[in-house]
């Protein structure tokens, strides 16, 4: 039961394209200024998205006195980047509905993605990079795994079994079973969905960023991924910290005190971020 690379490419090409509204919010991700009125109009065209955002804005999390009834109010409350990430998570959850896959826990997957996102944002702030972009890249870095687990479930169960048996990193196991890994598959998906080249690069290179070649965001996500595992957000007994590149570590240039702050702040902000995206 082996899967060819062509088969994976074909599966991704057959995935529906991103809804227009999602492309719209992603396009603006690198920009400082964003037209809020235009964005809210676009969101309102999508009823289910509107309903989700309003439900969330009215959840106990925000503790508002008055009922939020318009997208404009919700955007004011949650913030543009909050709305963007909420939309992204919603679309990912719709595109890749949960399946039963032995050894794969969707909750753990999201916990890790959110932890990496939070950590990437904290690191980006220390380095004065675009924090929102880093956050989203962290959130999306493992989307290739969602393709594997939902579209190639039996084979991914094999990969997970291989991982357990050899106690290796999941990437090694994926290569053994599929001949490719979640970073490469994530890149294909990012291409299919017309993500910006910056975002594609961050997803594709998050395990092997070429620092000298300018993979800055990929480098931030690379470190955030390792730190999120090391902070044990997954809680899985056999979790494993992935290899962390020394050239990335040196390029970040964060000393021990800075790193302690990064660890602390990631833990502090994780729970809030998780609730915000748990829709």
């Amino acid at each position: 039961m082996s899967t060819s690379f062509e088969e994976i490419v074909k599966t991704i090409e057959e995935l529906p394209s991103m809804p227009a509204v999602v492309m719209e919010v992603l396009e603006h991700i690198d920009q400082e200024e964003i037209n809020v009125i235009q964005l809210t109009r676009k969101i309102m065209l999508d009823q289910s998205l509107t309903a989700k955002i309003l439900r969330f804005a009215n959840s106990s999390f925000f503790n508002t006195q008055t009922k939020v009834t318009t997208i404009q109010q919700a955007v004011n409350l949650i913030g543009i980047s909050g709305v963007r990430n909420l939309i992204l998570c919603t679309v990912l959850k719709i595109s890749f509905p949960e399946v039963r896959c032995k050894g794969f826990d969707f909750n753990v997957f999201w916990r890790h993605s959110i932890a990496a996102a939070v950590c990437a944002k904290v690191i980006a702030r220390h380095l004065q990079l675009n924090q929102d972009f880093a956050y989203t890249a962290g959130l999306l870095h493992d989307i290739g795994r969602l393709v594997f687990v939902t579209r190639f479930t039996p084979q991914y169960e094999q990969a997970i079994a291989y991982r357990t048996e050899h106690d290796c990193h999941i990437r090694v196991a994926e290569r053994a079973v599929f001949g490719t890994d979640h970073a490469a598959v994530g890149q294909l998906l990012a291409q299919h969905w017309n993500f910006s080249t910056g975002m594609q690069n961050a997803i594709a290179k998050h395990h092997e960023p070429d620092v000298a070649g300018g993979d800055t965001v990929a480098a931030v996500v690379h470190a955030a991924d390792a730190i999120a595992h090391a902070l044990d957000f997954s809680g899985e007994a056999d979790d494993l910290v992935p290899p962390l590149s020394m050239s990335v570590w040196n390029a970040l240039g964060l000393g021990q005190d800075d790193m302690m702050r990064v660890f602390r702040e990631t833990e502090l902000r994780f729970e809030a971020a998780q609730q915000r995206l748990a829709v």
Binding site: F61, R125, D167, V241, M246, V248, F263, R269
Partner: protein
């Protein structure tokens, strides 16, 4: 960090608890400094910020409990970092991260 701290959800935070760490806002600016004693007014204003877990001091543990807890955390870290075949140590920073993490886990109560 000499004393123990724990993370409490904002809804469980009570007046009288003392912050064990600087509380930062979205931009990383200090919202409330370490050592602040929480009161109703502060808790109300924290609900309006992007913050729902607070680091507060908790009861001091006995030395023995303290050592036990530290040992458990260090063992867990060793487990998470158990792979030693990452390749050339010159090109790999996992050991550095592990050392930082051990230092970090010596401090807090998470």
């Amino acid at each position: 960090m000499t004393r123990n701290y724990k993370m409490v959800p904002l809804e469980n935070a009570a007046p009288g608890m003392v912050l064990s760490d600087n509380l930062l806002d979205r931009q990383g600016k200090i919202l409330l400094p370490e050592g602040t004693t929480l009161n109703d007014k502060l808790l109300e204003s924290l609900r309006r910020h992007d913050m729902d877990m607070l680091p507060v001091f908790c009861e001091d543990l006995t030395d023995e409990e303290q050592q036990e807890r530290i040992a458990q955390r260090q063992a867990r870290l060793e487990r998470l970092f158990r792979k030693r075949d990452y390749g050339d140590p010159e090109e790999n920073a996992n050991d550095v991260l592990l050392q930082y993490m051990k230092e970090f886990r010596r401090g807090g109560d998470v």
